[in-house]
Symmetry: C2
């Protein structure tokens, strides 16, 4: 079954395939603080390269979250600083819109290195010698699937699990609008090839620490509604923040029907707040965050504000009201 | 694209198709307290029947949750008691393993009525004159999709949204092991035909009341771990229970990595607890609930216990320990 979206051209895929076949010792990397899609796509492509008889090494600036330790090959990931004696002249950068964002992994790349750049962000700067950067795919893992299919490579159960992980990470388990019908069909094919959808979702979504779940409870206890229920705030005090950083708690504001914007105030230092913003549909929270020197995407953004919690809520509240009128 | 699983035989589908084509005035119903799959499959099949020039009426014992009010046709659903003057001699029962479970909708069915029974529960009692009850599908909505495809019926955007709703309801948004690759491919096809996956998930998962979200926070605050982190309890006091019934709070116990069984104690009357049980993988909680006169499924069950909260936790704790050894 050929699932490739028409936006991915044969010539682009041929270019990437040639790069892979011409590689021997090759470094794979992704953006700093790699997420499920970065880690999954590096691990999967490394496995596919090994099946071609190549010798891939995954080098990341940061050790990825333990959430992904169930994926085959996780333990072989090299943290950039530990191995700075070694260098590579062939590099594949995955899920990374700008070359700078690979961070200290840069130290392992020779000045004359040849780069393949595989990504799904429209704003990708096409910094590679060969590039595929298409928003027709939901994730870099989906792109790696299409590339493997194009090359006729076998996807074994371990590779299927790695790719499935990236797809559900980047689509919010098929809940974000960037999920295409083809993304879902690719996921189905990965399940057919051995990805255990129940276990992978369990590892990603039911693998929190006791303390972080308790902190979510603390955040929910602080939930307040404003503007006739259109704006929700949650607030973690400086004391709470000593216990962890439950970023996901901001989503509990949007869980209340009718809420358009949810803000989580995290008091990192007394009187100094990091604010996470989420929007359901009507408000572009990146524009809102921008007013306070922050940024992000239309549906998820962040900024920093100072004052008392009530003052910060009031300033956000005024901006949300403006955005809603 | 033919997605039909081989377990659904042509003769079964032909039988159901003949029933639909031979119907004119026909009643559709589902089990009491109909859920997303029951409501979605009734609404979708009613729309498909209308496209065949038929006159379907959906009759349910209980008004479905407002969660589903965004689905086309929701307002035309008849509550069983309001219309007991009218009767039907052709009836389609959807997502209902036993005829008794349609509840008071029975009052509208004539003694000589002809029944079509469409379901995905293996234990279905095949009480219809024509039956399809197959576990090859994840949900009755998936079954209705295959039936519509078999009959060559057009699936419009409204029908696609109704069927998609049932599929994500019964698969936990593609997280439960009953989700097959074909279930996901059917979902993909429904998205292609106009189901908005982001909006439907938002309606199902982000549509709670302020009070019920706060109660989840209250439940999480009560979270305790026992047996070296294998057993989690959450406890809502009699006072908390005056504010609502956040059944889903039991899942927050399993959200902690390593927890095998989570129990939510709901003190419905002082000293009288309704207990919800959830299991990750190792324990069959229906067997555990059975010890206390309750029941359910291997991964989700419930029972009633009396005593102080600590006594109830202790009794559950002992049973969980036994089940884990």
């Amino acid at each position: 079954m050929n699932l490739r979206p028409p936006e991915l051209s044969t010539s682009e895929l041929d270019g990437a395939a040639t790069f892979l076949r011409d590689s021997d010792e090759v470094m794979l990397t992704s953006h700093v603080n790699s997420d499920g899609d970065g880690v999954g796509s590096c691990l999967a492509l490394a496995g596919l390269l090994r099946s071609l008889g190549k010798t891939p090494s995954i080098v990341l600036q940061d050790v990825p979250a333990d959430t992904y330790s169930f994926l085959e090959g996780f333990d072989a990931i090299i943290q950039a600083e530990e191995s700075a004696t070694r260098t590579f002249d062939r590099v594949i950068v995955l899920d990374c819109p700008e070359r700078e964002r690979i961070g200290r992994a840069e130290h392992l790349i020779t000045a004359d290195a040849v780069l393949l750049n595989l990504d799904h962000h429209l704003a990708n700067q096409r910094f590679g010698d060969s590039n595929i950067a298409s928003e027709a795919v939901c994730s870099t893992c989906e792109l790696v699937f299409h590339l493997a299919s194009h090359m006729g490579l076998e996807i074994d159960p371990a590779t299927a699990a790695q790719l499935y992980t990236g797809i559900i990470f980047d689509t919010g388990n098929f809940r974000y609008s960037l999920t295409t019908p083809v993304s879902m069909e690719v996921a189905a094919e990965l399940v057919r090839r051995g990805a255990r959808l129940d276990r992978i979702a369990d590892r990603l979504y039911n693998n929190a620490t006791f303390g972080s779940v308790k902190l979510v409870g603390r955040a929910i206890e602080s939930l307040e509604l404003h503007s006739d229920g259109l704006f929700a705030t949650l607030h973690l005090t400086h004391q709470d923040m000593q216990l962890g950083d439950p970023e996901a708690a901001v989503n509990y504001g949007l869980m209340v029907g009718g809420v358009e914007v949810s803000a989580l105030l995290k008091e990192e230092q007394p009187g100094k707040f990091r604010v996470s913003l989420r929007s359901r549909e009507r408000v572009d929270v990146s524009a809102l965050a921008h007013q306070f020197g922050g940024g992000g995407h239309a549906r998820a953004a962040g900024c920093r504000l100072e004052g008392t919690a009530d003052e910060v809520k009031q300033r956000l509240h005024e901006s949300v009201n403006e955005a809603l009128t």
